[in-house]
């Protein structure tokens, strides 16, 4: 497996006083480092579950859209993976962001149903109050040290 090239630092990046707008790469980095597929020991990036091209950030409009590709088309863990992505972003990003998580179109048999669940904030809120589910999500989000 090949990891993405480490990001090159620009002089602006190194300047502490310049506010960093949030961009696609940053979202991808947030997700890739710390989410595990519950059924596989490798990170989601290493499994090609989350691809960089599928992250769309609009820092001005305060929107983040993530499309993820489940490992297999009828993967029963798709909702859980999607939920973990959503939770990770909710915890990492400023409150102003609207976060939309979808399955990459055409890559899952129940993508409409899964997408609808992930978009329903009432369902998501209620699910996250379930301590057992929250524990599983937190397990998915444990950082794994990146080997370079």
């Amino acid at each position: 497996f090949f990891n993405e090239q480490a990001r090159l630092q620009t002089t602006e990046d190194e300047d502490e006083d310049v506010a960093d707008p949030i961009d696609d790469r940053e979202i991808f980095d947030i997700l890739s480092v710390s989410i595990n597929d519950p059924e596989h020991p490798l990170s989601l990036e290493e499994l090609n579950v989350v691809e960089q091209v599928r992250v769309r950030v609009d820092d001005q409009e305060n929107t983040v859209g993530v499309e993820f590709t489940p490992t297999i088309p009828h993967c029963s863990m798709a909702t859980l993976i999607g939920l973990s992505i959503k939770v990770k972003l909710l915890r990492s990003l400023p409150e102003r962001f609207k976060i939309d998580v979808h399955i990459t179109p055409g890559t899952h048999t129940s993508e409409d149903a899964v997408n609808k669940q992930l978009a329903d904030k009432e369902r998501v809120a209620a699910a996250l109050e379930n301590s057992q589910l929250l524990e599983v999500v937190n397990q998915c989000l444990i950082s794994n040290a990146r080997t370079s």
Partner: protein, 332 residues
């Protein structure tokens, strides 16, 4: 637009949590709010500001999703993700938990009192709508369980004058219920929205119903008499769709009983008020955007409610835990 929507006050109602819902008491003097912190708060006006009078913290084990005042103003019902509905009795500034209604299999999404005060409706993610009767001794009994939706039921609302109930759902439909032989039944299914329907409100006369949805539209429905003969089923037609106004999910909608203005709460952080054009055909109403505050809150607006006694007084609440009080003025 000469009409205005001015912010009167904004305050944090549920610290570090989201405020899910806010409701005026029938006299319009108190506000009840509830949130993800599992608390219910009662707010009263002190001069120009709102003060928290009471905090009800231990009534529920999970988030409280909605609260509703009884028509007499002496009782408060709260619907929670813990699958219960709590009935509180008001004693001066305090509230005492009278009873806990159990039965739903999972989160209760809404509770609503019928205008008569004798009936209560609840709905849940378990796809059902329950109707409860209250007797003179404050005893509650479930009289009907209706399973007309195929998915979570998000909201229930009673008709302002008739014993008629409406519900809306994750299944994209609205259902209308009437009592027949001591049993409540679904008499009409209103299809048209292309995603979850989150909120419902009747117009002041009860002749029309407005719904709001994740499909970013608002629909106005009118009951029409089906042609030929006296059927027991009613038919409702969509007579107007407001699209292109909302940037994201419309979570709540409220029709002002005093002025007829229609307000919406949206996931794009905005609050909007629509006014009906006077000259339009009643079977083809036309609504225009009268006032709009794009960043009413810094996060999603979950609820919007008109004061029942003071025209133009409007309240909203948000995922950021805040409640905002607005004054809507319309140039007639």
């Amino acid at each position: 637009m000469k009409d205005t929507l001015a912010l009167l006050q904004k305050f944090n109602a549920h610290p570090d949590s989201r405020c899910w819902y806010v409701a005026w008491n029938p006299k319009g003097t108190l506000l009840a709010s509830c949130g993800g912190d599992r608390a219910i708060r009662i707010w009263g006006r002190e001069g120009d500001s709102w003060e928290c009078k009471t905090v009800l913290q231990d009534g529920h084990q999970r988030a409280v999703r909605k609260v509703a005042w009884s028509p007499c103003g002496n009782y408060l019902a709260s619907a929670s993700f813990d699958a219960t509905t709590c009935i509180w009795k008001k004693k001066n500034d305090d509230f005492e938990c009278l009873t806990v209604l159990e039965g739903h299999e999972n989160e209760v999404k809404c509770v609503a009192w019928a205008p008569s005060g004798n009936l209560l409706a609840t709905c849940s993610r378990d796809k059902s709508v329950w109707i409860w009767e209250v007797d003179e001794e404050d005893e509650y009994e479930c009289v009907s369980v209706v399973n007309s939706h195929t998915q979570d039921v998000k909201h229930v609302v009673w008709h302002p004058t008739q014993e008629l109930l409406a519900s809306c759902s994750y299944d994209n439909n609205v259902c209308v219920y009437k009592e027949e032989d001591d049993d409540w039944e679904c008499r009409a299914t209103l299809e048209g929205h292309t995603s979850t329907v989150w909120g419902l409100t009747f117009d002041p006369s009860g002749q029309r119903l407005a719904s709001c949805s994740d499909d970013r539209t608002v629909k106005i429905w009118k009951e029409c008499q089906p042609g030929g003969g006296q059927g027991t089923d009613t038919a409702w037609k969509c007579v107007c769709t407001l699209s292109g106004f909302h940037g994201r999910t419309v979570y709540d909608i409220a029709w002002c009983p005093l002025t007829g203005a229609l307000a919406t709460a949206c996931g794009d952080d905005g609050v909007r008020v629509f006014k009906e054009d006077e000259t339009a055909d009643p079977d083809q109403p036309v609504f225009s955007l009268s006032a709009h505050v794009p960043k009413a809150h810094s996060q999603d607006v979950n609820c919007i409610a008109w004061n029942p006694k003071e025209a133009g007084l409007l309240v909203s609440c948000s995922d950021n835990g805040e409640i905002a009080v607005w004054n809507y003025q319309s140039e007639v």
